[in-house]
Amino acid sequence: MNDALQTHCDSVIGQMFERCHENAPNFGVTSDCFSRSLNGTLERFKKSSSDDLAEKDVTDFLGQIQADDLFMAIACANGNERAWWDFDQQHRAYMERVARHLARTEMDATDIVDAVYEQLYGTRIVDGERVSKFATYSGRGSIRGWLRTVIWHSLVDRHRAGHDEVSLDEMTENVGEGGAHANFAEKPSGGDETMVDQIARDRYRKATVTAIQNAFNTLEDHEKLILLYYHVENLKLREISRLVESEDSPLRAWFQRRSATRENNPAGRIHESTVMRWLEKCYAKVLQSFRSQLISESGLSEAEIAICTQLATQDLAGNSFFNNLNVSRSAAEVSN
């Protein structure tokens, strides 16, 4: 960061500090401490892309920071009693509600809140200093959103501790509401296989699987993610709408950049029907790519493509079509 930009940052951070200090004069947060935290966050922001930062980027970025929440978090990390009292009054009830919502029993919920408080205060000492979980909060989102995530991970850690043999994927699929439905390894149906010769059937299956794999891979990451949320995570359209509710949502911005309706209603609410249209566009792209794969790569005719899709559709009932693709969970995910 050049000197002029650093001066600009210092100026904006100084103004933020003044506002926060006025709101919470008893938190004992120094200007240096506040500035150090924000400069660290800015540094990470800078590294997130190779593009140079302009003054406007910095102003916009700092403008998005939940400064008062960050101020409180810094104060709590420093052990300020007034800040802890305010934090407890403002957020404990919410944390308890979140924990109760996620945990299976009231006792679990209480234990989780206690464990999170322990993390927040920090009982581990490194180089003579207490390590508070608050130090990892940067103000990028609200403190409640962050607490929710901390509670969720605490719950996952707790569950893992009691289920050593369960992979992380299996475990997370069983925690929370979204018990994933991806139980694909079911017995193949004993369907009638006399309609098409087995060799031809295998050939078409292989071509279809390769084509759908390649077609999915041609999508951009934002498109893949929305499909994965819908099909794998089983998020409802309403829930996806919620995810993109913020005008600044990266998913929303990405899809809107590709949509003519953005000009008409750039800041409007995203309805379920909008999400549905986004999905529809993804399906259309997959279909187009799928068909061209089968034609160009596998050399299939229109009639053969029809057989491929028919086979795949028939097999859906027996859930056998992709069984041979059921790859093992990634070692990295399991080991974490």
Partner: protein, 157 residues
């Protein structure tokens, strides 16, 4: 082009306004894609790292900007664990959005700071912390000083 209700995999029945025209081929590809994705076949090898709590919550709240979000979206495509976490956070967010804002306990204003902190530290350490005792002493000291000043005033009068 047929008029077929969309997204019919037993999970969601959209509103009537969401009924759209669907090409039968698109309906087929939707089904094939559903099975492909739920089979886990698209799972890529993650690099063993996960997104931190701070970025995950910011992503769910939609407060990351484009510069930061591209790498996170890519990670979420590859990492089932982080993706599942964001999904659960969205569900939670929606469930809570429909509830009334949390009511601060009626006695909150009357709670003494020292009582609250004693509670926190007793939860963390199983007993109250020295710092809290020190705080309580400060409070008591303050009260005693105020009382003494009051007595002096009365005496002067």
């Amino acid at each position: 082009m047929n008029h077929i209700r969309r997204l019919t995999f037993g999970r969601e029945i959209p509103n009537m306004e969401n009924e759209i025209k669907l090409d039968p081929q698109e309906l087929q590809i939707q089904g094939i894609l559903d099975r492909y994705l739920t089979s886990g076949s698209n799972r890529s090898a993650a690099d063993g790292r996960h997104i931190d709590d701070d970025s995950l919550s910011a992503f769910v709240e939609g407060t990351l900007n484009r510069r930061e979000s591209d790498s996170i979206v890519t990670h979420l495509v590859d990492c089932g664990f982080c993706r599942h976490t964001t999904s659960e956070l969205v569900r939670l967010d929606l469930a809570f959005a429909e509830e009334a804002p949390a009511q601060i306990a009626a006695n909150a204003e009357h709670s003494k700071i020292s009582d609250v902190l004693s509670g926190i530290f007793s939860k963390i350490f199983g007993t109250t912390d020295g710092a809290v005792f020190a705080h309580e002493e400060k409070e008591k000291e303050k009260e005693e000083n105020e009382r003494a000043v009051g007595d002096e005033k009365i005496e002067k009068e």
